[in-house]
Amino acid sequence: MDISQYLDSFLAESEDNLATLDDLCLALERDGASDDTLAAMFRAAHTLKGMSATMGFMAMADLTHHMEDALGHIRNHPTEFQPSVVDTLLAAIDALTANLDQIRDRGSEEGIDHGAILQRLAAVVEGQNSNSEERSKEAGPPAAFRDRVAEILRSGREPLVIQVAFAPECTMKAVRLLMVERAVESFGECAAVYPDVQALEADADASTAYLAMLVAHEDADALLTAIREVSEIAAAMVVELESIVSASGEREINQARQETAATAAVATANETPANRPAAPSTGGKVRDQTLRVPVSRIDEFMNVLSELVIAKTRLELLAQHGDHALREVTEQIARLTSSLQDGVMQMRMMPVESLFQRFPRMMRDLQKTLGREFEFVMTGLETEMDRTVMDEMGEALVHLLRNAADHGLEPPEVRERNGKPRKGTIRLSAYASGGHVYLEVADDGAGIDRDRVLNSAIGKGLVDERSAQNWTDAQVYDLLFASGFSTAEKVSDISGRGVGLDAVRGKVESLGGDIRVGSVPGQGTTFVIELPLTLAILPAMLVQLDNYIYAIPTGSVEEVARLSAEDIDSIQEQPVYRYRDGVVPIVDLGDRFFDAPCRGDYPWNAVICKEGKRRLALIVDDIVDELEIVNKPLGRYLEQVEMFSGATILGDGRVALIIDVRQLF
């Protein structure tokens, strides 16, 4: 079978399952060994195992199999659950992730060795198994059988457990067992047998076997009679469930019985079987049906759509001179096209959950490595964002979260000394408002120390000591993002912040967003990132240069001006524009692009661009229009091109490059 065509969906789904497992591990650590959590983990691990085995990735299948074993033991011995087991499970997930990465990159599992982690998983199983092994010697059926019984109990049914004793002279026990199974077949499902036929063939000394039957308990007598009729069977008897399931399991039995009773009561009260819940454990949440589509396919669709938009524009031109009916149809097509476009845009949006889901794990690990104690809270997981923007924000958020844990929060002892709760809180929230998405990272740490930041910046020569005295807090905090600030080695120790914050700001601004920081001494620090809802469509100003059109994102444009001779000065022979109470350097785009200046006679057409606090006057031949454009990537072949962030297709089908204003400063 050619499996390569399934590889993509295998990779995607496995990734999802690993992410789910990761989340559930944390839930396991937080809430203890709850049945719901473990059941969900089982499902995810089982799917992983099945899929990887089908795809022929045996190392992965084997590791998941052992992980299932470990999970099984945790589930069946909830009282023995140690949070330290979670570390082992997480390590296994990491190993699986690495395994999956290699499959993606190289298409094979060559050289993968899970030996170490398999041992750790085995230790989990053995560690918790040793007790039950002993118990099994005194009280009959082994752990595996008890586990199965416990599982059935949890599903709300009560199996009938039957002990079958072989006659001493019985030589072919396996055959007899098969006959027993055959005999009980008509009564109901046999959910578990111990030992199974193969084990019996191997073990001649076995004298008893156990069966767990899913039958009406009234049939017990008839069932036993049927078994006893099989020759060379000495005895058959019903075993009390309580003696089968471990002490901890007993509670479960009672609980399960109560639950079943309750469900039954409800069902009777309603008198309609349809009202009966399908399975007692399902929570009432109904999931929307979803379809997994590769982003590339949506992008292709988007391309076809933009072609359609162009064709529509031409049609509109033609229709101007046509009759009434043609104009009407054209208008209708225009409306349909734009709603199609909105629809595709919507498809590119994803809940931030998919970005956030990896953070709880990271924050957990950070607590351990940094020796901090904090609660990590995430809100607004359902907030939707453009996929491209989201992918780009991952690193920046990691930076901010790390900063919050490392520098924002005080060590637990310090917190206690200052009369704050020992455990801090780090909050990651997302929300949408007015065409923007906001991402917020907040801690309840010590806040930013204004004086330290200032002193450090003065020391680095970033600010002049005298002028800095009157600065507002906001101005001072802004220094954290200055590029010279973070590169200095000791800064993070002095100021408490500064690791790569300039990189974070760079990333955010390149996406057309903005980042701010607020801080209250002693109460904490909050970083707020503001991002456009989508990158795919952005408002832009179209300018002309030679015969070509270029687009400048409106976000970078401050105003448009016509410069006359008296507006212009020069500094060191470079022309500058007197603007408000300062001067702005003039950049001639024609010069910059083609060594062919476009400044001729006054007035010059200028676009005043801004980046942070800096400004620039771009001289162009003409300013054409301002409209919404579809941002298309230039692609990998041109990724070294710096002055352009992308391109767009104009109404007449020509391509216009989008100028990355930051590169012109």
């Binding site: 076809v304 692009f593 692609g635 352009f644 391109a647």
Partner: protein, 156 residues
Amino acid sequence: MAQQYVVMKMGKELYGAPVMQVVSVERMMDITPVPRTLPFIKGVVNLRGTVTPVIDLRERVGLSATERLDSDAMRIVIVEVDAMLVGMIVDSVEDVVTVDESQVSAPPEVVGGLRAVYLHGVAQLDERLLVLLNVNRILSDVEVDQLREVEKRVHG
């Protein structure tokens, strides 16, 4: 192993690109120049909604820039390497031929000024020589070249 090649003409010579890597052959279209990039990168075109870079194959592989008849025969051959689409401008596109691997001989060090690294080999096609291109190499080396270009600008 026989392979099919799209036969492209540049000057008087014939060049072959593996048919598996050729996505389509387009007539010349409006090219938007990308300022400050390598000379052989002619710009970008709108290929059915995708912004696609276009290079001049002649300049790319180092053929002498002889006068090209700006005729209707000129084509843009769109090739795909590692999910990357690039158009190559050629004088004309002739045919698709099947070449058996056994007919291919190693390229000579220099063919008409063309750097041998960009060649897969040379095959005899009837009475004429078909120069088989290593398209992957032609496209992938661009990063190295771009870096060199930047360096040149920085250090003069």
